[in-house]
């Protein structure tokens, strides 16, 4: 009783300024717009994770398969199927396509669909959760491994456990892999910088760091305290990067992450779909947690409602500073962007939560 009273008196005299978690607002280059929501549809298919343009065909990873679609539009054809969810795609100089397969590792695939696992283990740990590739000039490949514990759809477990189990690996297809950096908070994207080091997204620590390819030296932050969870990085024409921000941070999630007893109970008793979490899509279900600002008023959900899912593509300049962005806001459908790829002057965006691949203009 005395304690409660004392606490209250303290609150009255010196109201607590909780340090809390300051999520930067969306302004400057991140000022919201509806450009992604209004972007041109290229193809609609379930849960596209990454997209690759080879000649006049699009290769798209979707669920457990890689699909091929004519770039001019048409119906998808399955090229190959894998034992796990397919993710990042990249094309090697010799024409082979590398496919990240959750729970398996990295597989190579020819254009006809013959597949072979080329990397499944590195540094004594399995490569369960390959998230992105960057091909070096010497033919070796950088790959980010998100977490050594969770992979695929279970990425949200990794967030809830606040793990830092991600790694940056370098391997020659067919050869062995070396670990360039570990202890990364969900390494979710990689791209080469102009000075020849790797820019790596660390989703759970909301930052992009540069890591030297020599395997020495600590990661140095390029851009920290992003307002969302950064995912795949792609070098942009004219310098800088494209960043796929697969979800935005919300104060509720940031707060919940600090409440370990709640998180434990939540993970123990509730299905992941209905957790307090960032998501790639809103299920529009009453079982999902609702936040104050998300209540539908007079038939409308406000675009500024705290986003459970959000669509965001960011153009970063070479310093990692957002210079422009494309959004699909609250109440929109193109949420959960997992990949942005540039092929010449075409920029393709895989909108996993919106079940489509769209093309945006590179301004």
């Amino acid at each position: 009783m005395a304690f409660e009273a004392l606490q209250l008196v303290k609150e009255f005299l010196f109201p607590g300024r909780h340090s809390g978690t300051a999520i930067p607002p969306l302004d400057g280059g991140l000022t919201p717009n509806d450009a992604l929501e209004n972007a041109d549809d290229v193809v609609e298919l379930p849960e596209p994770d990454d997209v690759l343009l080879v000649g006049d065909s699009l290769y798209i990873s979707s669920r457990n398969a890689v699909l091929r679609v004519p770039a001019a539009g048409g119906s998808p054809v399955t090229v190959a199927e894998f034992d796990g969810e397919t993710g990042a795609l990249t094309r090697l100089p010799d024409g082979q396509i590398l496919v990240a397969v959750a729970g398996v590792g990295v597989a190579s695939m020819t254009e006809e669909g013959r597949t072979r696992v080329v990397l499944s283990e590195a540094g004594g740990l399995p490569v369960h959760c390959p998230t992105d590739f960057a091909v070096l000039d010497d033919g070796s490949v950088l790959v980010t491994d998100g977490s050594s514990k969770h992979f695929g759809q279970k990425w949200v477990y990794d967030l809830m456990e606040r793990n830092s189990l991600g790694r940056l690996l370098r391997f020659e297809p067919g050869g062995t892999a070396t670990v360039l950096a570990d202890g990364l908070a969900y390494a979710s994207g990689v791209a080469l910088t102009e000075d020849g080091s790797a820019a790596v997204s660390q989703a759970w620590s909301h930052r992009i760091s540069t890591i030297s390819l020599t395997g020495q030296g600590e990661p140095t932050p390029l851009k920290s305290n992003l307002p969302g969870y950064p995912g795949r990085l792609e070098p942009a024409a004219g310098g800088g990067f494209w960043l796929a921000m697969f979800a935005l941070r919300t104060q509720l999630v940031e707060f919940t992450l600090t409440q370990r007893d709640y998180v434990r109970e939540m993970m123990r008793t509730i299905e992941p779909d209905y957790w307090i979490r960032p998501a790639l899509r809103s299920l529009n279900s009453g079982l999902e947690p609702l936040q104050g600002g998300q209540i539908r008023k007079l038939g409308v959900i406000k675009p500024w409602a705290p986003p459970r899912s959000y669509g965001l593509v960011v153009r970063l300049d070479a310093d990692g500073h957002p210079s422009s962005s494309l959004h699909s806001r609250g109440g929109g459908t193109r949420h959960g962007v997992t990949s942005v790829r540039q092929f010449g002057d075409r920029v393709l965006v895989a909108v996993r939560g919106g079940d489509c691949v769209v093309e945006v203009n590179d301004r």
Binding site: L13, H18, E271, L287, L290, Q291, R296, L298
Partner: protein
């Protein structure tokens, strides 16, 4: 499914307070008990009281008394306290005068001079003029008032600055005083007055307490009533808070200002008279520098220098602190400057703390006002498509016709009259009426104010409306609005005054014409109604208005958000939907079980809103939202919710899942018969009401911009929405 509860012998009954799972452990019971006690709520409500404002000065005063009682021998004796009280009375009267001027937004620096001048004048009158004492005293008061009027007229009518004006009058009055002193004071020294009234003023006691102190108490009481209860007092405060706003409100600012200075002069004169009678000291130095002591005291008491804030008690507390400090120091024989400096430090600290207190109180109350408790639910029924449960989702509401899209905002409840016209409340405080074949003619039927919620027609076709923020109202068929009630008996165990109706929610009319209605919460306003859910405490009640006597009484208190109220088909009981507990209570008003409260149905998958009778002897229940597992979990963890409310802004809080609702049909025996869902929630997100009429079901939503209508299959074409069928039914039987 039903479980009976024996009512306690209290005037208004209390329901089973929470959902109790069958296999509750002792530890769980203890946790509930721990959370039931809401200390934080007690404190938050206590501190929200206006009379808690001077808490810091009062604490300092108590501290001073306690300190000197221990440290200074002879301080706590009766004799000392009585003699102190006489001195205190004089200081406090002057402080009171200063306080009134400060509250009106001015300042009166001439109090010391007025005090001295009145002291001198009264002494001269008593000793030299030969006037009767009573006349002399009256004249002294008049002079005081006159001096105040001089200040007041210069400030009010010549629009001079109070600070400069009273600084000048300070010097002038002091000059007059010096003149009097020079010419007459020698003669007063030799005169000796032997008059019983004068004696009474100097040494008179009532029950051992000096007359001056008694006078002070009387003046304080009158001052309190004038300042806080009278028109003049409110005008003074209003002028002090914002002169321009006061003028715009039609207050005669000049007159109010003048009066406040007159009060100040009058009180200074009264103090001067007591001083004169007590000490008979006709010196020009009386009251010199007094303005500083008085200002210190008043500011220490917490009266704002910027005006508009303060009470007589604050002035008294400040005066008492200063006066007792002086006395205590004298008794301790400490002339040490160090000690004085320390005291000055204490004063500064007290003033600083009081400032913080005044500044942060509102914010802190806001932050601590919501007090989450444990709310336990049964296992969430699976209502996903394919689950096969009684609540399984369907899309039966997707094809609902829309009525009045964009013309209504927030139709919480809907009702139809005998001619088939549709009525609903809106958040603008209107009752809208739709008529025509497809309800294309919209008109504003009545403008009540507040947010009209529950609707019902009485036997004379008056529309009885629960209006959030206002109370229970009736609208005649001509659209004339009449207040039925806006208050009930106060619950004396609650700190917060709950006699006014804050959130009248839904109503139904019993066969005998009594109107039973629910008040969802007595702690939150309409705009904050969901916060009551985040809190989860029993803050609501069921009330009954008797049209014959015009009296309202609380029937059931301490209900967790009672929302929908519906008289059963046989007219013997009422069904009460409790939103946050996801259950329905049955309260018997007639028959062998009269007075009993039972749980009728429990563990719904969503939050309940209105209940209405269906045409076939069953009931319609609206679910305004669904229970989300994450929120259910948070309801079991009050500490989580409390931290959440403290750390993140309200738009980000975890809320009950209000974007998906449905309509459920339940039988008289408490079984779920059918459900109607709008899974996407695009047309009917939050469903707060439904009304069956002529084979159609009409759907209202608190946050919606339309009323929905859907044709019911195999429903008899009989009106059940209009009027109260149970009334007719019972009357016939």
């Amino acid at each position: 499914m039903t479980e009976s509860v024996t009512p306690r012998r209290v005037t208004s009954r209390r329901p089973p307070e929470r959902n109790v799972p069958a296999d509750e452990t002792l530890g769980m019971k203890l946790r509930h008990l721990r959370r039931r006690i809401a200390l934080q709520q007690v404190f938050a409500e206590l501190f929200a009281k206006r009379w808690m404002e001077p808490a810091i000065p009062l604490a300092l005063l108590v501290g001073v008394v306690v300190f000197f009682s221990i440290a200074a021998p002879g301080f706590a004796t009766e004799q000392n306290l009585l003699s102190s009280s006489a001195e205190l009375a004089e200081l406090a009267l002057v402080c009171l005068g200063m306080a009134v001027v400060l509250i009106s937004g001015g300042i009166d620096l001439s109090v010391g001079s007025m005090f001295g001048l009145c002291n001198m004048v009264v002494l001269l009158l008593v000793t030299l003029s030969g006037l009767p004492v009573i006349a002399a005293i009256g004249l002294g008061l008049l002079i005081g008032a006159l001096l105040g009027a001089i200040n007041g007229s210069i400030v009010a009518y010549l629009k001079a600055r109070p600070f400069l004006t009273t600084l000048v009058t300070l010097i002038i009055f002091r000059g007059v005083l010096n003149l009097l002193d020079l010419n007459f004071s020698a003669q007063t020294a030799t005169a000796f007055v032997l008059d019983p009234i004068w004696e009474w003023f100097s040494t008179g006691k009532v029950a051992g307490i000096p007359f001056s102190f008694i006078t002070l108490v009387v003046v304080l009481l009158i001052g309190h009533i004038v300042l806080s209860r009278s028109r003049l007092g409110w005008h003074i405060t209003a002028v002090g808070a914002s002169r321009r706003a006061a003028r715009h409100a039609g207050i005669r600012v000049e007159r109010v200002l003048l009066l406040s200075y007159v009060f100040s002069g009058l009180l200074c004169a009264l103090a001067g008279i007591f001083y004169a009678a007590r000490l008979s000291s006709a010196s020009a130095r009386v009251g010199e520098g007094m303005e500083l002591t008085v200002l210190t005291a008043v500011i220490l008491g917490g009266i704002s220098l910027s005006g508009g804030k303060g009470t007589v008690w604050r002035a008294f507390i400040g005066a008492a602190t200063i006066s007792l400090l002086g006395k205590g120091l004298l008794l301790m024989n400490v002339g040490g400057e160090v000690f004085q400096t320390v005291l000055a430090g204490v004063l500064i600290l007290a003033v600083g703390l009081d400032l913080k207190w005044g500044k942060n109180r509102g914010k802190a109350i806001q932050k601590t006002y919501v007090n989450p408790t444990i709310v336990q639910y049964g296992d969430l029924p699976d209502c996903r498509p394919g689950s096969g449960s009684a609540f399984e989702m369907n899309d039966r509401l997707v094809g609902a016709e829309s009525i009045g899209v964009g013309k209504v905002e927030g139709p919480e409840d809907v009702i139809l009259d005998k001619q088939g016209r549709l009525y609903c409340g809106t958040r603008q405080g209107w009752i809208m009426r739709f008529s025509g074949e497809n309800f294309e003619n919209a008109e504003i039927f009545a403008r009540i104010g507040g947010h009209p919620l529950g609707l019902a027609f009485d036997a004379d076709d008056n529309l009885v409306v629960c209006v959030a923020g206002m109370g229970l109202y009736a609208v005649t068929p001509d659209g004339e609005v009449r207040k039925l009630t806006d208050e009930s008996n106060r619950t004396w165990t609650r700190l917060r005054d709950d006699s006014r109706l804050r959130l009248a929610d839904d109503l139904d009319i019993a066969p005998d014409g009594k109107i039973y209605f629910s008040e969802g919460t007595t702690r939150f306003e309409m705009a904050d109604w969901i916060l009551d859910g985040v809190e989860g405490r029993p803050n609501g009640r069921l009330l009954c208005y008797d049209p014959e006597t015009g009296k309202t009484r609380t029937v059931i208190r301490d209900l967790v958000f009672p929302n929908g109220v519906c008289c059963s088909h046989d007219g013997k009981s009422f069904l009460i939907a409790q939103t946050w507990l996801c259950r329905i209570l049955r309260y018997w008003i007639d028959g062998p079980n009269k007075g009993r409260i039972e749980v009728f149905m429990e563990n719904f998958p969503g939050y309940l809103d209105n209940i209405n009778r269906a045409s076939d002897g069953t009931y319609w229940v609206a679910l305004n939202g669904m229970r989300s597992p994450a929120y259910d979990l948070a309801m079991r963890m009050p500490v989580f919710r409390r931290r959440m409310m403290k750390r993140i802004p309200r738009d980000e809080w975890l809320y009950p899942s209000m974007n998906h609702g449905c309509v459920v049909k339940v039988s008289e025996s408490g079984e779920v018969l059918e459900t109607l869902w709008d899974p996407g929630g695009t047309a009917h997100a939050t469903i707060t009401s439904m009304r069956e009429h002529d084979g159609y079901l009409y759907i209202g939503g608190l946050e919606n911009n339309r009323v929905g209508r859907i044709k019911l299959d195999n429903s008899p074409a009989e009106s059940v929405g209009a009027g109260a069928p149970s009334v007719a039914g019972t009357a016939a039987s």
